[in-house]
């Protein structure tokens, strides 16, 4: 067990190192001069540009830049944003919490909704409710996110705020602040759920359909179990296994935020930050978000692996 854990963690560390290196190279080959981006719209001389290059360290040869970058990352320093002129780590830290709140909440709700509808659909396969719920989920999945977001805010009128995270004039006590944030969160959250729950529904539905013909379910029925006990105790735990991997992969993506939704509803999260960094382009900031996102996906993968061993005794054996 310890050996298995050590192996998994070692593998994760190696992939993380690769990601850091890849991020560095990737953002050096995309077009766009960071110095030009920083000084856009301001009159500058060639000397000033050269001085700026020296200050940012982009005048040095690439290998040297990479070593500087790597040692800095290992110290926890993700560099300084060119556009904001502030440490990247600080910026990310600021934006992390709103994103986790929004995307985390909507992912949990979407998973719950998707699994529930998926189980119902598979158990009553081909029934009218199965056809309607699967069709509806697919239609929503196919919709462009920004369009659905705008449609929702148009349709609900003034019921919910359609931008930002809180009003400036809310009293500072915890309850009013929380209610205010929740109020702002309704529309982006709904949009995200509507767009993503279909994949949980489809995976759950098809893996349960596969289990439905399993012989051990006939055994359970022959034992005299009620239909819903057959489903709850025998079919669903087995069918959930493939879904676990999917859910955890998506939980890893939570920190990347939802670029479209955060932009449409100007939600001050990491998605919006990434969008802003891209328009720069703000290289240190992009690299920072890239490393964070990959780190989250990799660690969630490791977590899913370990959870799988707890859930499925067959995996434990091999």
């Amino acid at each position: 067990m310890i050996r298995h854990l050590a192996g998994k963690l070692g593998g994760a560390l190696v992939s993380l190192l690769f990601v850091v290196a890849l991020g560095f190279v990737l953002f050096r080959v995309i077009p766009g001069d960071p110095v030009v981006a920083m000084t856009r719209g301001r009159p500058v001389t060639g000397d000033q540009l050269a001085e700026l290059r020296v200050r940012l360290g982009v005048d040095k040869p690439l290998p040297e830049q990479f070593v500087d970058y790597l040692t800095a990352v290992l110290r926890g320093d993700l560099g300084t944003s060119h556009v904001y002129n502030r440490p990247v780590a600080e910026l990310i830290g600021e934006r992390l919490w709103p994103t986790v709140l929004l995307v985390g909440t909507s992912t949990v709700l979407a998973v719950a909704l998707g699994l529930w509808l998926g189980i119902r659909g598979a158990w009553r396969r081909g029934s009218r409710s199965d056809r309607i719920s699967t069709g509806l989920a697919l239609a929503q999945w196919a919709m462009p996110t920004f369009w659905l977001g705008m449609l929702l805010s148009l349709a609900t009128g003034n019921l919910f705020p359609s931008g930002g995270m809180r009003y400036p004039d809310t009293p500072p006590d915890f309850l009013s602040q929380a209610l205010d944030v929740a109020h702002h969160m309704v529309l982006p959250c709904l949009t995200l759920i509507a767009v993503v729950y279909a994949q949980y529904l489809l995976v759950m539905r098809s893996s349960l359909l596969e289990e439905m013909h399993a012989d051990y379910l006939t055994t359970a029925r022959a034992k005299g179990l009620r239909d819903d006990l057959v489903r709850r105790r025998h079919a669903v735990p087995n069918a959930l296994l493939p879904t676990v991997t999917l859910v955890f992969l998506h939980l890893g993506l939570v920190v990347s935020g939802a670029i479209t939704v955060e932009t449409v509803f100007s939600w001050p999260g990491l998605g919006l930050l990434t969008y802003e960094a891209l328009t720069g382009p703000d290289l240190p900031l992009l690299q920072g978000t890239f490393v964070l996102l990959s780190g989250a996906v990799i660690s969630m993968n490791v977590f899913a692996d370990l959870l799988y061993r707890v859930l499925d005794p067959r995996v434990r054996a091999s």
Partner: protein
Amino acid sequence: MNLLELRDLSVHYRGARGEVTAVRSVSLGLEAGETLGLAGESGCGKSTVAMSVLRLLPRDARVEGQVLLDGEDVRGMSWGRLRAVRWAAASVVFQGAMHALNPVHRVGEQIAEPMRLHGVTGSASSSSVSSSVSALLDQVELPARTARAYPHELSGGQKQRVMIAMALACEPRLVIADEPTTALDVVVQAQVLDLLKRLVSERDIGLVMISHDLSVLASTCDRLAVMQHGQIVEEGPARQVIAAPTHPHTQTLAAAFPTVGDPASRHVTASDTSTGPVLLRAEGVRVDYGTTTAVAGVDLEVRAGEIVALVGQSGSGKTTLARTLLGLQRPTAGRVLFEGAELPRSASGLRAYRRQVQLVLQDPTSALNPRHSVYEAVAEGLRIHRIAGDEPTQVAEALSHAELRPPERFFPSLPHELSGGQRQRVVIAGALALGPRLLIADEPVASLDASVRGEILALLLRLRRELDLAALVITHDLGLAWTIADRVAVMYQGELVEQGTVEQVLLAPRHDYTRTLLAAVPQHQGSTRPDQLSVELRLPPHRLLG
């Protein structure tokens, strides 16, 4: 009153192409303490009959007639009453070696589940449940700690014992066993059958046993019913049905499971026996996987035009040996010679070698690509080996050698359109297309229906006669060896413990293990076989458990 009575039972399945009738007016009766065997090939409706007793048929089934369990019609029961009857009055032992147990629950929980559900006396406290689980496991000769195991940690035989323990959990008066030993080895099968027989007589329960293997039923059942196309074609006392079958289908079924020692079922005559040059020779072949030894020093010869049977239980190393002979596995020590030359090690050399030696696998359904037509399946080997000549002619020739005539008619067919026997013929044709000298066939008829087995075996014999094709047939079935082989090699724990002509080995076995194997074969009548009784099982303890 009969424990179970079926009156005019018919079952129809509604499908896309209209209704299909699986069972046609079947009437059967069973008294307490009696055992009834239900025999038939796949698709004859025997499992449908079993499932209809507890109303376990799928939704698209339409049932007519009466199913009386202790005089009460199962079809008229409310759902609540039906749930109360299930498992408490009648339970089922499924063909469960692999799939009938839930893979993520401990087996102890699965045995305890129906006890809690039906409120078996004393099941209120968890300690008494676990002690009854231990008692049940003890009855099926498993240690109490088995309760903590998951299904995948048990062998096939152990799982089947767990299934039986589970079936007895609520002390039902009727047990239905659906192919309870089909996936098991002969030795393990004999143990499980003995166990079932003992439990039936101790507890005075009625047993309905379903199998495609008449010899299994003959050794366990008092009465036998034979089904074909959803109907019962013959019924009577087991001895009588097997000794003097009146219906042609029963005769076919009985002939498919030959009696070792019966000259009528031996299809090889002395004149067939080859004295040709040695084709394939293994010298001191040894294969280790890490610290375990799968094959421990084997010497084996196959002559041109000779059929050799390699016999052994699962886990004896016979498949590893076959892989080594094919060059798919490199031996740790020893060598394999083909026509006196050691097997090549280069990829191209091995490819040339495999033209000479072809493999036929056990299950033709999974050996054929479901999306490739028969033509594609047979022509693939020709293309891989870049064999010159007119491809359609060669494919047609291979198919007609495998008795698929006229071959052109089979060209566009896909595997699912063919019967099991035809599929195995396609696999054999694919091997024949390359003009090999030797076939290595791994359980070539184990997954086929009784009536088809004979045909495939006759095909192997005819190919030997006409094409001088040698074969190494790997099997656990001694009857198969008796039917077609010239020589038999018995494998046990990685070693060949006995080797010789079929008559020597099967009629006068010298090694204890061969005698054990022979004793485990279910017998249907007073045959001429020696040493039928009282052979000590000298197997290691874990095998006995299995």
